[in-house]
Symmetry: C2
Subunit: 177 residues, 2 copies
DNA sequence: AACTGATTGTCTATGCTCTAACGATCTTTC
DNA sequence: GAAAGATCGTTAGAGCATAGACAATCAGTT
């Protein structure tokens, strides 16, 4: 009665079935586009989940926390709005994550700029030590992921993804890329 | 005093700066791995945010809601645990999203299986109409994204990503892929 | 100086995500 | 049969994400 899902169903099997089924319901399905987006999102989710569980949550923080700590490490110190732009996240989210990081003593918020609206985010001593240590493990895990590919494939993949990022969605684009 | 971020700083500029800076602090940085993971995650975030804002939130729901509706459309009806496996999300998250979808009259939860632990999720009439309509717009937007690439590049990219998904992280892998 | 408009960081409300724990139910073992 | 173990869906609690509204501040015009 109930259609049973083959127990270990791979992503590719699901893709195939989905394209088949959807093609019955609606014409002109862009199968290649569907596969591409599906796989990009799936890979990103897997990578984030993997690195978060293997590296960051073990160290007591999150992917989001690390991302903010990392850009702050790179630039020395930053204002929240810059963090927001650099890590592609809303100002509200930055504010929220900073609450956690500040509570845990990893960053401090200062009001020392001429422009009194601005907040300066700076790593504490502990924060700097932690993020440097975490980066090593993080980067090691990133490398583990790339071992699936040859050096050449790795470069190719990065190049293609950069190309998509630069162009964005190409048609009917009403709010810029 | 404060290091100022060049206002429209591209992802690539940030990558370059980050690699430079991090290489001063720690040896043996895997720059290619860093770039790859960074760009994959960035692209996925952009795609999800774009499609969510252009298609799904306009229709009154979320990416997560659509994903569940879609797999249910493909299979006719499903149990939450199968949805969980197919969409790579925890059972708890599925349960949470189903609450929203059920509240909005898009799906129903039934207890009609022999195994009385199981719940059967089925689309309502309205749900089926909605998800089919949303799929067309969703898939159109997916195609807009692929226009940045040639047909050949698109296939290449999908193939490389599938390869990474199948292999997973290759070393020090303690909990399976 | 006063008005207008834009920007910054934060707060609220809502939703998705996870882990960990729970009762209910099935399965296996004794 | 009864006890032990596994599985299913849900809940609780925490964190991150968004949009939208807000006070404070700055910049420009008049």
């Amino acid at each position: 009665m109930t259609k049973v899902v083959p127990d270990p169903m791979s992503g590719e099997e699901f893709e195939k079935l989905a394209i088949e089924r959807v093609s019955e319901l609606t014409p002109n399905v862009h199968a290649e586009a569907m596969s591409l987006v599906y796989n990009v999102v799936r890979l990103a989710n897997r990578m984030v989940a993997d690195i978060e569980s293997q590296v960051h949550s073990a160290a007591g923080w999150s992917w989001a926390g690390f991302r903010i700590m990392f850009v702050t490490l790179v630039f020395g110190e930053l204002e929240p709005r810059q963090i927001s732009i650099l890590s592609d996240v809303s100002r509200a989210s930055v504010s929220s994550v900073l609450n956690t990081l500040e509570r845990d003593g990893l960053v401090v918020r200062l009001r020392e700029s001429e422009d009194r609206r601005l907040v300066t985010v700076r790593l504490t001593e502990q924060g700097e030590q932690s993020v440097m240590k975490a980066f090593v493990a993080h980067n090691q895990r990133e490398r583990d992921w790339t071992l699936a590919l040859t050096q050449k494939e790795c470069t190719q993949l990065t190049t293609l993804i950069r190309k998509m990022l630069q162009s964005g969605p190409q048609a009917n684009d009403q709010n810029g890329q």
